[in-house]
């Protein structure tokens, strides 16, 4: 089932001359885990915001084309309606924090309160996401006393608690150490395996390669390619888009070792190991 359909989307921020998004079309199936890559300021965050309705409802500006999220046309529905289907984790957790709550626990409750959930259900969900994101020990702290990494975990927890059908994340692990970011990726993958559709803008190419079903490459507001990680990271012209392939792909490309049964180079540690062992043998 098509969970997201974007058809000829064009968008220009108010006071800006250039289009931030130019004629973008793609479809995403239910339960897919999609990575959005590209250099900074090519429209990754704008595209994320177009999926949750902040573009155009919050930012205004000129808008053309269509975005359908689980059948709802984003343009014709309020952010409140859309928020019941799609949750978004902001790039900077500091901007996502409401500022109106005294503790991490209450902060996570914010969205749930606003959607009128019964108290018991709220408690259950909050406890679950606190555990999942491993921030139980700071649940009574003020959101502003957290470290960058803890705040980012709280930001993700607040959205996961809403149990959206579709989860949009904008560089959700930028503040985390490698072990923490692996943990968060695994938690998101668990979500995705429960059938939730996940869309993530990210610069950590090794992670994109490891976790995403398909990768969407953006450049100057246009969609360049939307394919498997092997296909995208094996493109000869990847550098022109300001993207570096995972280190495993770069090693295999330099040695001319392709992935077995596929025309591209390996993109993960495991695949690179397999391919290299075969070529050394």
């Amino acid at each position: 089932m098509k969970k997201i359909v974007v058809d000829g989307l064009k968008y220009k921020y108010p006071l800006s001359e250039a289009l931030a998004l130019q004629d973008i079309s793609f479809e995403i199936e239910e339960g897919e885990f999609i990575g959005i890559i590209g250099k900074n300021s090519v429209g990754k965050s704008t595209l994320c915001q177009a999926l949750v309705g902040l573009v155009p409802h919050f930012y205004k500006g000129a808008y053309g084309g269509k975005v359908l999220v689980d059948g709802l046309e984003v343009r014709n529905h309020s952010i409140a309606d859309i928020s019941r289907k799609v949750g978004m984790v902001f790039q900077n957790p500091f901007t996502q924090v409401t500022g109106s709550k005294m503790t991490v626990y209450e902060e996570i409750a914010f969205g749930l309160e606003n959607s009128g959930l019964p108290r018991e259900e709220m408690r259950q969900r909050i406890d679950e996401v606190l555990r999942l994101m491993r921030i139980e020990h700071v649940k009574d702290h003020s959101p502003f006393d957290l470290s960058g990494g803890q705040m980012q975990r709280m930001a993700i927890a607040s959205i996961m608690a809403m149990k959206p059908d579709i989860l949009v994340l904008d560089e959700p692990t930028s503040q985390l150490d490698p072990a923490g970011s692996e943990e968060v990726f695994q938690a998101i993958q668990d979500f995705s395996q429960q059938g939730i559709t996940v869309i993530m803008a990210e610069h950590k190419m090794e992670k994109i390669a490891q976790y995403c079903n398909r990768v969407l490459l953006l450049h100057e507001g246009r969609l360049v390619d939307f394919d498997t990680a092997e296909k995208i990271f094996s493109r000869e012209d990847l550098k022109d888009y300001g993207v570096t392939a995972p280190v495993y792909t770069r090693v295999c490309r330099a040695l001319g070792v392709k992935k077995q049964g596929c025309d591209g180079y390996p993109v993960t540690l495991e695949d690179a190991e397999l391919a290299l062992r075969r070529s050394f043998a």
Partner: protein, 264 residues
């Protein structure tokens, strides 16, 4: 250049110790500080910069004990780029922000402007002098913070996670700046989570774990000690792991080294 002896620190007298019994000396090698969130890395560099005061132990920069100097005096010697740019930025334009430190150490206005613009050119923000810093993207804000500290031309430059939110182009700018500072014989110290970047750019690596120094040495030597790194929950760089898995003998730090080793 910096000598740290028997340093311990906690945020409150009764609280848990964040750093305990740190002994380190810094020379002019580029140095990466790695370790998990909460290991004490940021606290450590704030102590070096005099933003926090030591509980126990001493920190000497050259002949001076850090505790005896004011933050303003230290500003001429040691620059720190904060982890969160919003903690550092507060002026109305990019140029004012980059000039702020210079004006505070009583540099004349025209010189300050020249130095600030030079630093902004290094990070590629020279066409945004009049822009309000809060309208910049996260990665641009980080570059502005780097430029503001670069402009001060201090002997010691510390970065706290400079590569957050940077794309390939941003990473290249930071790489160039580190090389440039090294050429000028300055001490560059960086807290960082990107191990591949560490392997490619830093001579020395120090691993913090639970407020203690777990490993300290040449980067290659540090990344060859997989088991000890695991204690600190740190994985060697991807390319190092791949080399080990396919049975290359030496500790590999870059793609080029990997390819060379295979050609042997």
């Amino acid at each position: 250049m910096i000598k740290v002896s028997n340093l311990s620190f906690s945020y409150s007298p009764a609280g848990p110790s964040v750093l305990s019994d740190i002994n380190l000396e810094f020379d002019r090698r580029t140095t990466a500080i790695i370790g998990q969130n909460g290991a004490g890395k940021s606290t450590f560099v704030k102590l070096l910069k005099g933003l926090l005061k030591t509980d126990q132990g001493e920190i000497f920069i050259g002949d001076y004990e850090v505790k005896m100097k004011t933050a303003a005096e230290l500003a001429r010697q040691i620059g720190l780029v904060f982890q969160n740019p919003d903690d550092q930025i507060f002026k109305r334009t990019v140029l004012d922000e980059a000039m702020f430190g210079l004006l505070n150490i009583k540099i004349g206005k025209s010189t300050a402007e020249r130095l600030a613009v030079e630093a902004l050119e290094m990070v590629g923000l020279e066409d945004k002098l009049a822009v309000n810093p809060h309208d910049l993207s996260l990665s641009e804000k980080k570059l502005l913070c780097i430029a503001s500290v670069m402009a001060m031309d201090t002997d010691i430059v510390i970065f706290d996670e400079p590569t957050i939110g940077q794309d390939h182009a941003g990473m290249e700018i930071i790489r160039r700046i580190i090389q440039e500072l090294k050429k000028k014989n300055k001490l560059v110290m960086t807290i960082i989570h990107d191990m591949d970047f560490v392997a490619e750019n830093f001579d020395r690596t120090i691993v913090f774990n639970n407020g203690k120094v777990l490993l300290d040495g040449e980067t290659r030597e540090v990344f060859s000690q997989k088991e000890v790194l695991m204690e600190a929950n740190v994985e060697p760089p991807g390319v190092t792991q791949l080399a080990e898995r396919v049975g290359l003998k030496n500790t590999i730090l870059t793609v080029e080294e990997f390819v060379q080793e295979c050609g042997k």
